[in-house]
């Protein structure tokens, strides 16, 4: 066995309120694909960010070619031959493929003080790179004209052009369809043959057995173990990933659900949603599982009136409604806790109080005049009820921890007296304690009969919280399970497109 090109020893990284990585070990050999799996918040992305020099580590050691190294900047990482392909791609839309690939490292013409880009060389080498990956992309095209998978390929080519020895893929297939995924895998195999070490992050347990050699499991920032995929079964992995006692994590008391509150009939939106039928009863939590990019968030956006559906009807409390805008949705009593907490959920530069009341001002003060005392009491009420840790109500929300921020978002919608809640990844990236509290809140909501639609990538959460579970795959509802019959295996399989028809529960 050759010596490892990358070794990680006892690396620790903590953020305010949560230890993201705790003495984690990891190693990588040339020409192997080493997969890292784990739930959201298990510490996968933190590990990547440490390796690619975005964050500094708190303690521990990195070895590249068994040389101890410090990765203190993105450039340092690149010099060490580590490059990362993030979920959100870093390309300049206005520039051409070739320009993007050699951005900042353009080969210069000889003479003329090496001032000029050797366009010939750029084009030639780009062409070589692309054809070595068997890609038919013209180097002259502006990146903005490419499809997302194509752009991803360009990122790969860019990484190769940097003579990367270690290539990190962060959820590369999340935005890809089946065929595109195969194309990506083909390329990854090409890279393996060149002896490049690949770190591969994914939720899609099935696909990793197709591509990976070894797999390391992380959970809550802890190193759980490393297996050869040849020997590991999906179920082993899931057990290792989930591995904690679910009960107390998910405080739910189940009741008999009431009548239908929200009903979707044949909702379609070109390219993302196909003929979605879905019901939510009063007093039940409906889990919406599926891989990232399977259309869960898109569905939520349709219900909240962000993107209009092309066809199909939405019935709320039995009335047929056309929801043209989020404003309309809020007036109908729909609340939407988005997955993008920082960007869409909160006003970073406003105080806790203002964030809590902003959406409900119209209801609180119908005549348009704010009574500070009343506003104060309302905000305080929710701060206490949700145990939001903040020194003062006027604290800028951006200074709060992730968990408290999420509680503020919840408070914002609770304040609107919303009648239907849509939660998109309600506990993403927040520590276990806060997770539990948010779960308790969800339970209290349904206790009062409020219907809740909960999108989550964390199977335990889906299983632990939901009365009923819909699973989505490529924009379709691929399965529906009752609490009783649902298991992680079943859900994962339906999420990966293995349709297991089961009789819908009545």
């Amino acid at each position: 066995m050759p010596e490892s090109i990358l070794r990680v020893e006892k690396v620790t990284k903590a953020f305010p309120g949560v230890v993201a990585l705790n003495r984690v070990d990891f190693d990588l050999y040339p020409g192997e694909v080493h997969v890292i799996v784990g739930e959201n918040g298990a510490g996968k992305s933190t590990l990547i960010k440490l390796l690619s020099g975005v964050y500094p580590k708190d303690s521990g050691h990195f070895f590249v070619d068994s040389e101890p190294v410090e990765i203190d900047s993105v450039h340092k990482a690149q010099e060490l031959g580590i490059s990362t392909i993030y979920q959100e791609l870093h390309l300049v839309p206005e520039l051409t493929v070739a320009q993007n690939i050699f951005l900042g490292r353009e080969p210069r013409k000889k003479g003329r003080f090496g001032l000029l880009v050797d366009k010939g060389a750029v084009e030639r080498r780009t062409q070589e790179l692309l054809s070595s990956l068997a890609l038919e992309i013209s180097p002259h095209l502006p990146v903005s004209a490419l499809s997302v998978p194509q752009q991803q390929m360009v990122e790969v080519a860019k990484a190769l052009s940097m003579e990367a020895k270690i290539l990190i893929f962060d959820e590369p297939t999340s935005a890809l369809a089946e065929k595109e995924t195969d194309a990506l895998f083909r390329i990854i195999r090409v890279l393996k043959e060149r002896g490049i070490g690949i770190i591969y992050i994914s939720h899609r347990l099935e696909e990793i057995s197709k591509i990976g050699d070894r797999v390391t499991v992380l959970r809550d920032g802890q190193y759980i173990g490393t297996l050869r995929l040849a020997e590991a079964s999906i179920n082993d992995l899931i057990r290792m990933m989930v591995g904690r006692d679910i009960k107390d994590q998910f405080p739910r008391n189940y009741r008999e659900p009431g009548g239908i509150a929200l009903e979707l009939r044949g909702i379609s939106r070109k390219g993302v949603l196909h003929d979605i039928d879905l019901r939510i009863h009063h007093g039940e939590v409906v889990g919406l599982a599926g891989l990232v990019g399977s259309g869960r968030t898109e569905l939520a956006r349709v219900i909240f009136g962000v993107d209009p559906p092309d066809s199909g009807e939405i019935r709320i409390f039995g009335k047929n409604e056309t929801i043209g805008s989020p404003m309309k949705a809020t007036n109908l009593g729909i609340a939407f806790i988005t997955e993008d907490r920082k960007g869409l959920g909160l006003f970073q530069a406003l105080s806790v109080k203002d964030n809590i009341t902003i959406a409900s001002l119209r209801h609180l003060f119908p005549n348009g005049l704010i009574q500070p005392s009343k506003e104060q009491t309302v905000a305080e009420g929710y701060v206490n009820k949700l145990r939001i840790q903040t020194p003062t109500l006027t604290r800028l929300v951006r200074f709060l921890s992730g968990g408290n921020q999420q509680k503020v978002v919840l408070a914002k919608w609770l304040a609107t007296q919303a009648k239907i809640f849509i939660l998109d990844e309600p506990t993403r990236g927040i520590d276990v304690g806060a997770k539990q509290e948010i779960h308790r809140l969800i339970d209290e909501l349904v206790k009062e009969g409020t219907p809740v639609l909960m999108i989550s990538s964390e199977l335990p959460e889906i299983l632990g919280m939901s009365d009923r579970i819909y699973v989505m795959h490529e924009g379709r509802i691929s399965a529906e399970y009752s609490r009783m019959e649902a298991t992680q295996e079943k859900i994962l399989q339906s999420a990966m497109g293995r349709y297991l028809q089961s009789p819908p529960v009545q």
């Binding site: 989020p326 960007g343 006003f347 203002d354 959406a359 001002l361 003060f365 006027t394």
Partner: protein, 314 residues
């Protein structure tokens, strides 16, 4: 106003800086604190803030309104034609109406057609000015009935009426910004248009309302000014946009929107007034004035900027 975090800090700095300036002026400038000069300062301060309200509001929603001066000229010239014919009320209505309409056009094109505020209001600056000049043909419309002149010239006790008007307006706007749901939504839109949208607020409506209001205020300021000058001319307010930006910026209203408040704007107004006043009292040739003002603005903003940075750091 939620005087939280950075806001307290920046106000703090601004108040200190403002104290320093006053002390300096007191030491250097003869008769600076004489009764008459204080009245004079107060008047000039409020006249400055009067023209800055619209700019301040548009900046709060991360916008900009360069057209205030021209709009004021156009609306007040049209208004003057009626006022001079003893038709005061109609005149005032026309003045406000024209201003509002110009603002509405700004808002519509910015919100609906997604024109950058700079491009739109800059064009409006040309258009309104051109129309005003073509309409006036160099004449000036003067000689208004007492009832109207009163607006600009007379005193209530020791206080000049324009001061009272501007102060009342400030009070109204303050109430409007801090005590109404609209004002709160305004800040929200300024901080993040998308987050506002996802909180069920109608962003484009807010933008349109703000720019209309800005136009309305410009028209209003125009009326006060012609009452003061007792005459309307097309050249009015050429320097307003720059003066207003200076006041707002010194007052700590940030270009990124959602940050700043009327207290700051008021302090900014005071500082600008003191600077101009001192320059004249000291008899500094006007040629130094541009240099001076430019320098002070950069200084003020730099201080503000660093105080914020420190606050964010600590």
């Amino acid at each position: 106003m939620n005087l939280s975090g950075s806001k307290i800090w920046s106000q703090f700095n601004r108040i200190i800086a403002f104290m320093l300036i006053i002390v300096a002026a007191y030491l250097l400038v003869p008769r600076f604190l004489s009764y008459t000069n204080i009245v004079n300062l107060v008047r000039q301060t409020f006249l400055l803030t009067l023209i800055s309200y619209g700019m301040g509001l548009s900046m709060l929603v991360a916008g900009l309104d360069l057209s205030i001066g021209s709009v004021a000229a156009l609306s007040s010239c049209l208004a003057a034609t009626f006022i001079a014919r003893e038709n005061v009320l109609l005149g005032i209505l026309v003045g406000l109406g024209v201003g509002g309409v110009c603002g509405l056009v700004n808002g519509m094109l910015i919100a609906k057609f997604k024109l950058p505020d700079f491009v739109m209001t800059f064009s409006m600056m040309f258009i309104a000015r051109g129309l005003a000049m073509t309409y006036m043909q160099g004449e000036s419309i003067y000689g208004y009935p007492k009832s109207f002149i009163w607006v600009g010239k007379s005193f209530l006790g020791p206080i000049p009426t324009p001061v009272i008007i501007s102060a009342l307006l400030m009070a109204v706007l303050y109430f409007f910004l801090n005590r109404t749901t609209f004002g709160r939504a305004l800040y929200a839109v300024g901080v993040s248009k998308e987050a506002a949208r996802f909180s069920g607020l109608s962003v484009s409506k807010k933008l349109i309302q703000i720019y209309s209001l800005s136009g309305l205020l410009a028209g209003f300021a125009g009326l006060v000014y012609i009452a003061r000058m007792n005459s309307a001319e097309a050249e009015m307010g050429v320097l307003w946009p720059l003066e207003a930006i200076a006041v707002c910026v010194i007052g700590g209203i940030s270009f990124s929107g959602g940050e700043g408040n009327l207290l700051g704007l008021f302090l900014g107004g005071i500082m600008m007034a003191i600077i101009n006043n001192s320059i004249n009292l000291l008899g500094i040739p006007a040629r130094f004035q541009d240099f001076f003002v430019g320098f002070v603005i950069i200084l003020a903003v730099a201080i503000d900027h660093y105080s914020k940075r420190r606050e964010a750091g600590g």
